[in-house]
């Protein structure tokens, strides 16, 4: 059974203070590791897909990386507008198995 675990559950940063969010996964035959951002009252917004260990993708202040057991979402010099819940999901077929998310708060 696919499992995804995210840590920490909550993270509070000062504006400009870089950090990383962790996603550990047990997905046999990984066909994609996905990162989403979710704002309160909204659906998850797609950020990145990673397919193989060693792959990296960047978008503005965010960079996602993938190893054989984990994925990291690095946030460089975050701004208050980066505050949201970040979800990680993996799949070995079609359905996504999500972690419980990391709630990020960036204070000005």
């Amino acid at each position: 059974e696919d499992q995804v675990t995210q840590s920490p559950e909550a993270l509070r940063l000062q504006e400009g203070e870089s950090s990383s969010l962790n996603c550990s996964y047990t997905v046999s035959g990984l066909r994609g590791l996905f990162w989403y951002r979710q704002d309160p009252g909204k659906g998850p917004e797609f950020l990145f897909t990673l397919y193989s260990a060693g792959e990296e993708k960047e978008k503005e202040r965010l960079k996602a990386t993938l190893t054989k057991k984990e994925s990291f979402l690095h946030i460089t010099a975050p701004k208050p507008e980066d505050s949201a819940t970040y979800l990680c999901g993996g799949t070995s077929g079609s359905r996504l198995t999500f972690g419980e998310g990391t709630q990020l708060t960036v204070n000005p």
């Binding site: 009252g41 797609f46 897909t49 979800l87 079609s94 359905r95």
Partner: protein, 117 residues
């Protein structure tokens, strides 16, 4: 372009009532998914369609839950005889296509928040 839309956005049902939740996927997207999200949790898979075929319904929590996509576009999730534990946000997602070895990203709608009283 237009994203995934869902209606209604909010639904309050009395215990025992039937409800129907609608999803309009992105035009041309072959795959459609339903997820259930409890407060403070990640989304949990309910069911998956490829065109009009329901290929996986293993996540549906009971036989009170039923989903359909008769013409391969709009989908409806129906919950019969609602119970308090059905209270959650129901998310719909669509994906462009299907590939035998990789999975395409899923685009989510805003969700329907169901409250059963």
């Amino acid at each position: 372009g237009a994203g995934v839309s869902q209606s209604p956005r909010y639904k309050v049902a009395k215990r025992g009532q039937d409800v129907a939740l609608r999803c309009d996927p992105i035009s041309g997207h072959v795959s459609l998914f339903w997820y259930q999200q409890a407060l403070g949790q990640g989304p949990e898979f309910l069911t998956y369609f490829q065109n009009e075929a329901q290929l996986d319904k293993s996540g549906l929590p009971s036989d009170r839950f039923f989903a359909e996509r008769p013409e391969g576009s709009v989908s409806t999730l129906k919950i019969q005889r609602t119970q308090q534990e059905d209270s959650a946000v129901y998310l719909c997602a669509s994906s462009l296509s299907f590939h035998p070895t990789i999975s395409y990203e899923q685009y989510f709608g805003p969700g329907t928040r169901l409250t059963v009283t």
